[in-house]
Point group: C2
Chain length 343, copies 2
Amino acid sequence: MFILIIQADNRDEICPKENRNYIGGCYGKKIIGIDLGGTTVKLAVLTVEGAIERQWSIITDTSEGGINIIGDIVATLKEHLHKFQIDLKDIVGIGMGSPGQVDCKEGTVTGAYNLGWWCKQHVRSIFEDAFGLPFYLDNDANVAAMGERWKGAGAEADDIIFVTLGTGVGVGIIVDGKLVHGATACAGEIGHIVVDPGGFQCTCGNRGCLETVASATGIMNLTKVELSRSQAESQLKILANNGKIDAKDVFDLAKSGDVLAQAIVDRFAFYLGLACGQLANTLNPRYIIIGGGVSKAGEFLKNKVEEQFSNFVLPTVKDRTELRLASLGNEAGVIGAAGLVIL
Amino acid sequence: MFILIIQADNRDEICPKENRNYIGGCYGKKIIGIDLGGTTVKLAVLTVEGAIERQWSIITDTSEGGINIIGDIVATLKEHLHKFQIDLKDIVGIGMGSPGQVDCKEGTVTGAYNLGWWCKQHVRSIFEDAFGLPFYLDNDANVAAMGERWKGAGAEADDIIFVTLGTGVGVGIIVDGKLVHGATACAGEIGHIVVDPGGFQCTCGNRGCLETVASATGIMNLTKVELSRSQAESQLKILANNGKIDAKDVFDLAKSGDVLAQAIVDRFAFYLGLACGQLANTLNPRYIIIGGGVSKAGEFLKNKVEEQFSNFVLPTVKDRTELRLASLGNEAGVIGAAGLVIL
């Protein structure tokens, strides 16, 4: 406890976060960024300007209810800081993105089932005890939004929305330079806005959520419907009959002109464009940034979504909120986590 | 100019807005709240705690491109302050809500066509010149949101969304205690989120906007459709055949059990519940507050919307974002305008 207080004071002396000259005042110091995922934990040492100097990763050990995860991170961090000869006093703080529902004030995570964490995890207190450094924790989509804003497609705009399309849909919202958490830390659940009432069953219990049509899972839902109703000749149909297909196959075939695959992508873009139009009308961000695995379909995907977006956004907002593809890829997590410490 | 600078300094000395003890430090002082509407301008003298001490209104003179509006407000304000024997030095500042698109930083209004204002109006500079007091300006829906948060159904929660249902749909969003304006002051255009792709034509050029189904105009759109397709015996049908009906007739008849009117209200509630679900999932406000003329249908309307809302909101958000009816009525405007000065 005594150590914690000293460190907190020490940090305030060096770099009060509220001070606008924060980054300047921390010149030469480092930040640790951690991106905790269901498969790997990515770690990085960054400069206070957000440049990655060192990075490595470890396997996420989800066995035994994920009991070893935080201990493993602490151990690898200590080992690597020693190896890199980085002294704790030269580190401004540690930031981490986590799956699940994060209580930023408490520094806890609940419902991160893909980590094996079935009950609330008191993450911050463990890091503070181990390093005596300021520790910031947020939801992984929020952290990626911070990363894209700081060093990626967000171009340091004050108002952005980051939409990550993977198995599901995750979203981080930044308003006036700050992450939006909502009254009870549930903001950004845009994967579950209903865009097709009565549509596909969602894991949340409702029907027609964005996630059921505009994610990798969604692509497969739409594919099943198109395969069953379309009579068109299609390479996708042949591929599906011969075995397993995935979202990437659908986008690749759509790009190459397969009619059935194109119909699926058009439907996907319809729903994502509709949702982006709703977001733009509601919050008028400077950018809506599309990232995650599905966004690897690139400009082809973006153009399709943009076309639909322009049908659904208020004409006066259309030219004021721009759709962009994420630019940081896998590094958004560690950069954004570092951003939690310093921005 | 000289006077302006002195007043600004003077104000900072008395009550720096950033100071958390602002209200306490201004004890005994007054605020002026102005609610500029297309028919009347409501004005009030309030305490710094938000209690209305005096209020009056004047007709909005929209003739000649609304050239007299601001001059009329300045004149009535001077006259009444003299009458009430209130000295300018005892006034903390003036706040005003206006229709149209408001640039809060510039203190200007554009596109307030219902005032006859076809070009940009430099509102703040006129007030500052006339009174030498700090002057704050915002969009009328934002101002009403501030009012409801401060002294109404918002119960001082940090995160609320205020939805006003009149001829159209206006929305004010408060995140973390602050009004959201977006990157280019277009946030809150929720009247134009598309909830029924391909649906009714909207004034904005798109189809199926919330405003085309969940406003007084929307009720009439839905009524036309139901009247033309329903074979049910209905008092509403008789009334419609005999002359003009309005949104209030539809709600009154629905309450009294008219099947056709109930079908219309159910459809209205479906779309509003869908939109509220989307808003709750996106921003997780503590309250979504429903106000405006249409909300006079009261608990009957609220219960219908709540029923639909619960179908469309993510189950984990459902109990964390509550629908409420606005409680301030017509006074939300002047109270919220005063709130701009002090909150």
